[in-house]
């Protein structure tokens, strides 16, 4: 049945021009949130206006945006047993993705550059061994999987050459809830997969930082990977929460200045790189966003409660918080763009 539907939709694709993102107002980015008791996914303009909103069945974590068609895949919070493909034009749930038996989605996913494939971060539920699920996007059937190269993969990003960068957070979780099972022995890594799924590079942190879970990623145009971490060790230790990785080289850590060392409370929630090469790192726990130069040097800290979502906006950034505000950010200041009654969720997903 699914195959037949895929076949028919394939035929339709040949016959009719498919609508693109322009059909839904050419959003700058997507952001999920909660309005009263409803969970929604919004398309946002660069000035923070909602261009469309579609309902989600529950609280999401992150989404993946199709590069051309107005399709978004919303992932459940980990450990997730479903992801849904939403038609942003109609709001219809086009497909409901279920990982194979014994696998769980782990919060993030990304499309291939041509949109023909969707990659999903997953774990084998019993062991938290990481997998990258591969789905074709005509009918969203599962067509394969790769090893992610580590335990507990979370974010993943696509490189310009089609390779994937995966943040293997290192944390094994109980398959039934989110309790962490291996904090004493965790060992996160960054892994680069070729377009064919071969592991071509990996990088680990120094042993003293193995309890620093690598969770979120941003890619610069020159290929630099910025990674955001969450510290599972003693909160009294001032550890870096931002790192940079030139694929193939050891990762470079970017410690904050001493006076700023505890403002993030050991927890970075999202990271983004702007067109000018600035890096923004958010901490909803600490209620701050920091801005860094291209080499990771700390430039500024701005306070905003529960700020988490961040994506590039020209030379600066667009940010979201849990109180319903969207902000623009440059080195000097945070400026409110809009404020509404949607509590914005962890991440903003750029359309690229």
């Amino acid at each position: 049945m699914a195959t037949r539907r895929a076949f028919l939709s394939g035929l339709a694709a040949l016959a009719l021009p498919k609508p693109g993102w322009a059909a839904v107002g050419s959003p700058h980015c997507l952001a999920a949130g909660k309005t009263a008791e409803r969970y929604v996914l919004h398309g946002l303009s660069a000035d923070g206006q909602s261009l469309f909103a579609v309902d989600l069945p529950g609280r999401g974590h992150a989404a993946a945006a199709h590069p051309h068609r107005p399709l978004a895949v919303a992932f459940a919070r980990r450990p997730g047993t479903f992801a849904i493909v939403l038609d942003c034009l109609t709001g219809a749930e086009q497909h409901h993705l279920t990982p194979p038996a014994g696998r769980q989605f782990n919060g993030h996913g990304v499309f291939s550059a041509d949109g023909s494939l969707l990659y999903t971060s997953e774990v084998i539920a019993e062991t938290s061994q990481g997998r990258i699920g591969i789905w074709e996007t005509a009918g969203f059937q599962r067509i394969g999987e790769w090893s992610s190269g580590g335990i507990g993969p979370h974010d993943l990003k696509r490189q310009s050459d089609g390779g994937l960068i995966v943040a293997n957070g290192g944390i094994a979780t109980d398959p039934a809830d989110r309790s962490k099972l291996n904090i004493a022995t965790m060992r996160p890594n960054l892994t680069r997969l070729s377009p064919e799924g071969d592991i071509t590079a990996q990088a680990e942190l120094p042993p003293a930082l193995w309890q620093n879970s690598i969770r979120h990623l941003a890619l610069a145009p020159d290929g630099t990977v910025a990674f955001a971490m969450q510290w599972e060790g003693d909160p009294a230790e001032p550890v870096p929460l931002l790192g940079l990785w030139q694929v193939g080289a050891p990762p470079q850590l970017c410690p904050p200045p001493e006076a700023e060392a505890f403002r993030m409370q050991g927890y970075a929630g999202s990271v983004a790189i702007s067109a000018s090469g600035r890096i923004a790192l958010t901490s909803p726990r600490g209620g701050v966003v920091t801005i860094h130069a291209q080499d990771g040097t700390h430039l500024a800290t701005h306070a905003r409660a529960d700020v988490c979502g961040v994506t590039a906006l020209g030379a600066g950034f667009l940010l979201s918080d849990g109180s319903g505000a969207l902000w623009s950010l440059d080195d000097r200041q945070l400026s409110p763009l809009t404020r509404g009654d949607t509590a914005w969720d962890n991440h903003i997903v750029p359309l690229t």
């Binding site: 909660k34 974590h61 919070r77 980990r78 919060g107 979370h154 969770r215 969450q230 003693d234 909160p235 009294a236 230790e237 200045p257 001493e258 006076a259 700023e260 060392a261 505890f262 403002r263 927890y267 929630g269 909803p284 726990r285 209620g287 306070a303 409660a305 529960d306 700020v307 988490c308 918080d321 849990g322 109180s323 505000a325 200041q333 945070l334 400026s335 409110p336 404020r339 509590a343 914005w344 969720d345 962890n346």
Partner: protein, 323 residues
């Protein structure tokens, strides 16, 4: 029934701004003014004498004044590392002592007010002074210049925090939601900021001031208690609880369960005869501290259940989520 009636009366009689305005006027500004005064006194005395015995009472008074405001993790104290430079604890790697050892034996030019303000936050403040006024072993050189520099720097920090509040930050909190206020976009956000301070303060008491010396049942770690040398570990817990109770009182009248829970915890600190939590080394002594820790957790749960709804706010959507 009576409780509900009290609650309704409280809601009817409180002007909209009363909660935040009361906290600023009755709790925050007087607290920072007292801390600035106490550290100015300490600075003055240090200029006159470096004798630890002479300075200890003023040090204790300044630390008491800090405990009345130390939970206020917002605004000027969060900027430029001021809060860390006032008290740097916990310091599991002993960064403060190492930095101070370098300073007492190093270039005296580093002790001028301008240069000292740039020294490690771990070396400065009340924690730095405590190591100098209550030494656990001999220092390798004369500590008098460092005592004076630290006392002067502490007074400067306290004055800056107070000035930051009176010359801008208090207004930002009080004009939450007004056009042009980009720090607090609504009155609810200002209430939420104070609510977060309250919840975080109780969590910090639970996890740090009590949790660190408790360690685990099999391996208690009394040496990790706060301000052991000056004998303030338990006193800091009591003063912190009293400060959080005062904050609660100013924040809302509709919190009888929270007040009762905080009162209970304060009472436990008054009967717990274990000033630096050395008792955590024994099972029965640790149990007593654990009872206090549970009382603090009960107070935190009461705040979440009672004050959050009363103020119409909760903890952060993302801060709580964690992913």
């Amino acid at each position: 029934m009576l409780k509900r009636l009290t609650l309704m009366l409280a809601l009817l009689t409180s002007p909209v701004h009363a909660d935040v305005a009361d906290v600023v006027a009755d709790h925050i500004l007087p607290g920072y003014a007292a801390f600035a005064q106490a550290t100015a006194d300490l600075d003055l005395q240090a200029a006159a004498s470096c004798d630890p015995d002479t300075l200890r009472p003023a040090f204790q008074t300044a630390f008491d004044a800090w405990m009345a405001v130390q939970h206020l993790h917002l605004g000027p104290v969060e900027e430029a590392g001021r809060g860390l430079a006032i008290v740097f604890w916990p310091d599991p790697k002993g960064l403060g002592r190492k930095a101070q050892l370098a300073l007492v034996q190093g270039d005296p030019a580093k002790l001028t007010p301008e240069a000292f303000a740039d020294q490690s936050v771990a070396a400065r403040g009340l924690t730095g002074l405590e190591r100098l006024l209550y030494p656990t072993g001999p220092w390798p050189a004369d500590t008098c210049p460092l005592i004076r520099a630290t006392a002067a720097d502490l007074a400067r920090l306290a004055a800056e925090v107070q000035g930051g509040w009176t010359s801008g930050f208090a207004d930002q909190l009080l004009t939450a939601g007004a056009p042009g206020n980009t720090r607090y976009l609504s009155e609810a956000e200002a209430r939420q900021a104070l609510f977060t301070v309250l919840v975080t303060g109780l969590a910090q008491l639970h996890d740090q001031r009590l949790g660190r010396p408790m360690g685990t049942f099999d391996r208690p770690t009394p040496e990790r208690a706060e301000a052991v040398a000056s004998g303030r570990s338990l006193r800091n817990v009591r003063l912190s609880l009293q400060a959080l109770r005062a904050l609660t009182e100013s924040l809302t009248e509709a919190a009888p369960l929270t007040q009762a829970a905080l009162d209970h915890a304060v009472t436990l600190t008054e009967t717990l005869n274990d000033p630096v939590f050395a008792g955590t080394a024994t099972p029965s002594g640790r149990l007593k501290v654990e009872v206090l820790q549970q009382a603090v957790e009960q107070a935190r749960l009461a705040v979440l259940a009672e004050i959050g709804p009363a103020l119409g706010v909760g903890l952060g959507f993302n801060a709580l989520d964690g992913d």
